[in-house]
Amino acid sequence: MDTSEDILHQASPDLVRGSETARRSKAARLSPSFISWLQAGPMMLVFLAFFLIPLVFVVIVSFWDYNEYQLLPAFSGRGYTDTFEGCIAQLPDLCTIGKTYLMTLKLCFMVWAITLFIGFWVAYFLAFHVKSKTWQMGLSLLCTIPFWTSNVIRMIAWIPLLGRNGLVNSGLMKTGLIDHPLEWLLFSEFSVVLALVHLFTFFMVVPIFNSMVRIDKSLIEAAYDAGATGFQTLVNVIIPLAKPGIVIGSIFVITIVMGDFITIGVMGGQQIAAAGKIIETRVNALQFPAAAANAVILLAITFLIITMMSRIVDIKKEL
């Protein structure tokens, strides 16, 4: 964040100065396409420097060899073959990487479905039930309050609540509903999904809300006038028109959850596999090419999911 601002600060005076002189001297010759390039240029440079070039490095390194203490810049598919070790030999059982991705996708799907459900209705409420713009604004800001503290603190705050001797368990025991503490509340898939939903629902709310407020109210009136029930209006008018927001929100949530290993680690008691966790373990053991190979695999799978989703909705067209 800081660095991209730096680059903008450093780049913009030159650009501004450059464009001013250009305007003064040869204003007539500045073509619109040149101006577009100028406008898109800084972002392009940021993208090139911080995304494309590092990505190329990651792909290159993923094909290197390594030993205990250094990278060996010779072509080797070891990072990949090691990763898929036993995937055929162990059939019908899943190999490590298969199990890991199955678990990651499962968590991803659960978190996606729940954040979508909650996010959709929160956005619906904000867009259609809150009439005044001021209130809409105020309530949206309210949704950001959890973001005032750090991600890690929000996550750790669940632990004293859900633990064996935590608030929830001792509350339930006192009311006599249970006589043994519920073990699955913490360090389980349940707690991982709970924390991820808590962290990321907001990323669903904002784009869906954004799509919904732009729906022409007269369309809803027309549907009502034509005799549609509330449910029919929802399914045939609102959901199709909110689709871009739904897809954008889904992309946010899915990409974050696919790469997450800290939340899954802390809330899962380090006992639940995650694609990101494999990369972390490899990096910590100084096995960079293997880590890079896993990163490339993760990227490819995430990319596949996103491509499938953008097949459903053409985001560019809808925006």
Binding site: D6, Q10, Y69, F187, G265, G269, T281, A285, L286
Partner: protein, 429 residues
Amino acid sequence: MSETTRTTGVSRRTLLKGTAGLAGLAAGSGAITGFPYVKSADAKVLRYLGTAVNEGDDISKQCLKDTGIKIEYITATTDDVTKRVMTQPNSFDVLDTEYFSLKKLVPSGNILALDAKKIKEFDNITPVFTKGETPGGKKIGGQGTAPWKVLYLEGKDSKKFATSATEFVTLIPTVYNADTLGIRPDLIKRPISSWSELLNPEFKGKASILNIPSIGIMDAAMVVEASGKYKYADKGNMTKEEIDLTMKVMIEAKKAGQFRAFWKDFNESVNLMASGETVIQSMWSPAVTKVRSMGIPCTFQPLKEGYRSWASGFCVSKGVSGAKLEWAYEFVNWFLSGYAGAYLNRQGYYSAVLSTAKAHMEPYEWAYWMEGKPAEKDIKAPDGSLLEKAGAVRDGGSYEDRMGAVACWNAVMDENDYMVRKWNEFIAA
């Protein structure tokens, strides 16, 4: 947990630093002039890379007072320290690291062997490091990367460990300890005497193990051996078959729900134990002390199969020379001169030069920490907080008893790569 956070913070910061450099290049403005302070040319400053274990404020303050050397701490986790030595060898002067890392660090050529003759107290370093026995003559278990196997190099620029003493020392030892299982005696309510108890179904859902693969697998091996399933030639250097066998036992236990969670840093282990989520787990001595200082009973249980030990020390970056190298020697000499040793002993660790540390400790402190005698007075931590009331006895007893019962040392295996893959399989199971 906080250490995990710190780790990501550090790597993110390093990342930002790197990208900031790139940003400067991309913007065509050349180097970014950064730091807001101006260093005076004469100030003796050493950049000290290490884990938080030795990096006390009290130590750096006392060092500045005694020697005029200003220590700038660069704190990272064990894994990140090693990573940094490999990738940014010029970003530090003095390195505080563990002996088992040497198998990676020395071949990388990024560290400088120190000259034993320039270390004043070198001959007084405990025989634990030089001979593999306690001062009382007890032979210490040498499985794993035992310090005496990697203490010397064949020559000044050699990348080979020498089998007998030379004057070129890889790491000057500073601190070490013997680790075992921590237990909650109030919740277990019966004596525990073997590593095999970690997988006892009695503690189903209430056990935990360290999630640092190279160390976790050694604790696992202690358990496997204790339960009589297998006897390893060297727990610190397993064959592929031995790794398979060990992980199979652990995977079965995990699937049966034996483990509540795995932990990776100090605070996580303290929280698990203090909250009662676990009642038996691999642990570090100061973490047990921390749980106890919260008023919760916790024992660092000596076990009949012995301890898993670790040790760390100082070496210097290859990039250090001239006056700076002299300061580095001065600093290492100061560190062994007693103040720091006493400070470490009072935290429940052990210092490398016992005689100088003893001179800096009260006799009753020495008797409690090192001789295993009941405390004559209340035992206090270096910061003055109460650790134990008068009458308490240290878990495991004296230095002789604890270090003499060490069975193996933290290690990096030859089959490390395979082991890491197996560990990922264990987590995914």
